[in-house]
C-alpha cells in the first residue's frame, strides 16, 4: 500500500524529472486513494515546479528540462482539475495578460514565465506573440487584469512596450506592467514607466507577486 506522502512526493519528483507518464499515473492514483485534488496540486505538482524554479535560478536546470517538467505538471493537472472543488469564499486570484511585444515571434521565454506564474496561482491569459499594442490594451481592459506581462527579444520590438504602458494609463487601467526579455534591463523598465522588470522567469514571479501583494 502506497502512502499519501509517497504519492505526493512521487508526483513532485515526476514533475521535477519531467516524467509525464509517471505524473499521470500518480495523479490518477491520488484520486483513487481519495487524496484531496487540491492537496495533490499544491503538495505534488506545485511543490515539484517550485523546485524546478529553484534549480533554474541556480543554473542546475535549463529550458529543455523545464519544458518537460511543464508537460509532466500539466498532464497531472488535466487529471486533477475536473475533481477540484470550487471554494466561493476563497480570495480571487490575480489575473495576468501575457504576450510578446509587436514584431517579435520569440515566445519560449514568455511561455516559461506564463507557466511559472500559473504555478504561483495567477490566472493567465495568453495573447500570444507579435501582439499589437492595442490588443494588449483592449484585452487588459476587457479582462480587468491586474498585471500585463510583456516580453521582447529584439531591440526593435522592445520599443513597443512603452506605448502599451502609455495607452493603459490613458485608459486608466488598474493593471501593473511587468516587462522582460534579453534586451531589457531595470533602467529601461524605469525609463518607460514599467512597474516591474524580471530578468528571468523566476524573478518575474517574485515581482508580480509583490505588485499584487501576494
Amino acid at each position: 500500500m502506497v502512502s499519501k506522502e509517497e504519492i505526493l512526493e512521487g508526483l513532485a519528483k515526476a514533475v521535477i524529472d519531467g516524467d509525464e507518464v509517471k505524473s499521470e499515473e500518480l495523479a490518477k492514483k491520488s484520486l483513487e486513494v481519495g487524496i484531496d485534488p487540491y492537496e495533490s496540486l499544491m503538495k505534488g505538482c506545485n511543490k515539484g515546479m517550485a523546485k524546478v524554479s529553484d534549480l533554474y535560478e541556480i543554473k542546475e536546470m535549463f529550458v529543455p528540462e523545464i519544458l518537460l517538467s511543464a508537460d509532466a505538471m500539466y498532464a497531472a493537472i488535466d487529471i486533477l482539475k475536473p475533481h477540484l472543488k470550487v471554494d466561493a469564499s476563497a480570495k480571487k486570484p490575480a489575473k495576468v495578460i501575457i504576450g510578446v511585444a509587436q514584431g517579435d515571434i520569440h515566445d519560449i521565454g514568455k511561455n516559461l514565465v506564463k507557466m511559472m506564474l500559473e504555478v504561483a496561482g495567477f490566472i493567465m491569459i495568453d495573447v500570444g506573440k507579435d501582439v499589437p499594442v492595442d490588443t494588449f490594451v483592449k484585452k487588459t481592459i476587457e479582462e480587468d487584469a491586474d498585471i500585463v506581462a510583456i516580453s521582447a527579444l529584439m531591440t526593435t520590438s522592445m520599443m513597443y512596450m512603452e506605448p502599451v504602458i502609455k495607452k493603459l494609463k490613458e485608459n486608466t487601467a488598474k493593471a501593473k506592467v511587468v516587462i522582460g526579455g534579453a534586451p531589457i534591463n531595470n533602467d529601461f523598465a524605469n525609463k518607460i514607466g514599467a512597474d516591474g522588470y524580471g530578468k528571468d522567469a523566476v524573478e518575474a514571479v517574485k515581482v508580480s507577486k509583490k505588485l499584487v501583494g501576494a
Binding site: 518537460l68 514584431g103 529584439m154 531591440t155 520590438s157 534586451p183
Partner: protein
C-alpha cells in the same frame, strides 16, 4: 587623424600588425536600410539590395565592416520550409513561418542540399558576395551555428525536448544541418577561392540561458567541430565567431575546438556583452582577434556621449590584446538606433583607440 584607410587598417589587424587605431566593425545589418531609405526586409530578401545598403553605410561612416549576409533563423528555408522577411512593424530579422520538421518522422525525410548550387538564403548571400569579391572585399556568409539552425529547422520547443526524449533523432537532425552548412561553404569556396571567403558562425539558442554546458557538449559541440574541421581543410583564413548572448559556460568547448583542430586560421570572436573582455583575452587573445562587445540595447537607449563612454571602456579593456582588437557591439547594431550612434563608435576609436 587617421593614418590608414579602412582596408589598410583591417588588413593590418588580420596580419597581426598594429594599425593606426582600433578598427570598428559595428555589426550593422538592419540599421543600414535607413541609410538608403529602403524597407528593412529587403536587406534579407534581396542580396543585391543588401549589398547596396551595407556598402553605402560603410562608405558614409568609414567603418571597417564590409557587407555580409546572414541571420539567426537560417536553416528552414534551405530545407524547404518557409520564412518571412522583416517588413512588419517591430520586425528586425527573418522569422520562421513553416518549420520543415514538426514531428520526429520528418527528420528522415529531410534532404540535405548538395554543394553544386546555393539554396534558400545562400542564393541571396551569393548575390551579395559576388559584388563584394568583384570589388576586392571578402565574401562573408553564414556557416552556422548548426545548433541554432537545427532548433529552427524543427519546431524549437519540440527540438529542445527531443534532446532529452529522442536524442538519436536530435543528433540525426544536427548531422543533416551540419552537412548542409558544409555543402554550402564548399559551394562558395569553389566559386571564389578559400582566400576570398569569410565564414560567419553564431547563434543564440545554445546560450546558457537556454541549454546547459553539458547539452552544449553533447549536441552543439560535435557538429560545430564537424563544420570547422571542413573550414580548416578548405583553408579558409578568417572565421567570424559570434557566440550570441550568455555563453560563458560554453567557453571551454570553444577553446577545445580551437586546440583539437590545431587551428591555423584566425578566429575573430564577438561574444555577447555578458562575457567580459578580460575573459576573452585570457582564453583566446594569444591566437585570435577579440571583438569588443558594447551592449546593443544601450546603443539604442543611451545618448551619444554615453555610447562614446561605453566604447571607451571597451577599448581600454581590449586595445592591448596580443593578437588584435576590433571595436564591435556584442550583437547586431540596433536597427532603430539614431544615425549618430555609429559615429559614436568611430569617434571613440579615434579618441581612445590610437596605437602609439
Amino acid at each position: 587623424m587617421d593614418k590608414m584607410t579602412p582596408p589598410e587598417r583591417f588588413q593590418a589587424v588580420l596580419m597581426g600588425e598594429k594599425p593606426d587605431r582600433v578598427p570598428v566593425i559595428p555589426f550593422i545589418l538592419g540599421f543600414c536600410t535607413k541609410i538608403v531609405g529602403m524597407p528593412l526586409g529587403d536587406l534579407y530578401a534581396d542580396g543585391n539590395k543588401s549589398f547596396e545598403a551595407q556598402f553605402m553605410s560603410m562608405r558614409l561612416y568609414g567603418y571597417e565592416q564590409t557587407p555580409m549576409y546572414g541571420y539567426a533563423s537560417c536553416g528552414p528555408w534551405e530545407f524547404g520550409g518557409k520564412i518571412g522577411f522583416p517588413y512588419g512593424e517591430g520586425h528586425s530579422a527573418p522569422y520562421v513561418i513553416e518549420h520543415p520538421v514538426n514531428e520526429i518522422g520528418d527528420i528522415d525525410k529531410l534532404e540535405v542540399p548538395d554543394s553544386d548550387k546555393p539554396v534558400g538564403g545562400f542564393v541571396e548571400a551569393q548575390k551579395l558576395c559576388d559584388r563584394c569579391v568583384e570589388m576586392g572585399m571578402p565574401g562573408i556568409f553564414q556557416g552556422g551555428s548548426v545548433f541554432t539552425a537545427a532548433a529552427v529547422v524543427a519546431d524549437t520547443t519540440k527540438f529542445l525536448k527531443w534532446m532529452k526524449t529522442e536524442p538519436k533523432s536530435a543528433h540525426a537532425l544536427l548531422d543533416k544541418v551540419s552537412q548542409m552548412f558544409i555543402n554550402q561553404i564548399e559551394y562558395f569556396v569553389n566559386r571564389y577561392g578559400a582566400d576570398k571567403c569569410v565564414v560567419f558562425d553564431g547563434g543564440p539558442v545554445e546560450a546558457n540561458t537556454v541549454i546547459s554546458p553539458q547539452k552544449f557538449e553533447e549536441f552543439a559541440f560535435p557538429y560545430m567541430m564537424k563544420v570547422h574541421k571542413k573550414i580548416r581543410e578548405f583553408d579558409i583564413p578568417v572565421t567570424l565567431m559570434h557566440p550570441c548572448a550568455d555563453q560563458n559556460l560554453n567557453i571551454p568547448y570553444y577553446i577545445k575546438m580551437r586546440e583539437s583542430l590545431n587551428w591555423k586560421g584566425i578566429y575573430a570572436w564577438i561574444f555577447g556583452p555578458e562575457t567580459p573582455l578580460k575573459t576573452q583575452i585570457e582564453k583566446f587573445g594569444t591566437h585570435d582577434i577579440i571583438g569588443g562587445n558594447v551592449d546593443p540595447p544601450s546603443i539604442q537607449t543611451k545618448s551619444y556621449q554615453e555610447v562614446v563612454q561605453l566604447c571607451k571602456e571597451n577599448i581600454e579593456q581590449g586595445i592591448d590584446n596580443p593578437r588584435g582588437f576590433i571595436l564591435c557591439p556584442g550583437c547586431e547594431f540596433p536597427p532603430l538606433a539614431e544615425p549618430i550612434k555609429p559615429m559614436a563608435f568611430i569617434d571613440a576609436a579615434r579618441q581612445f583607440g590610437v596605437y602609439k
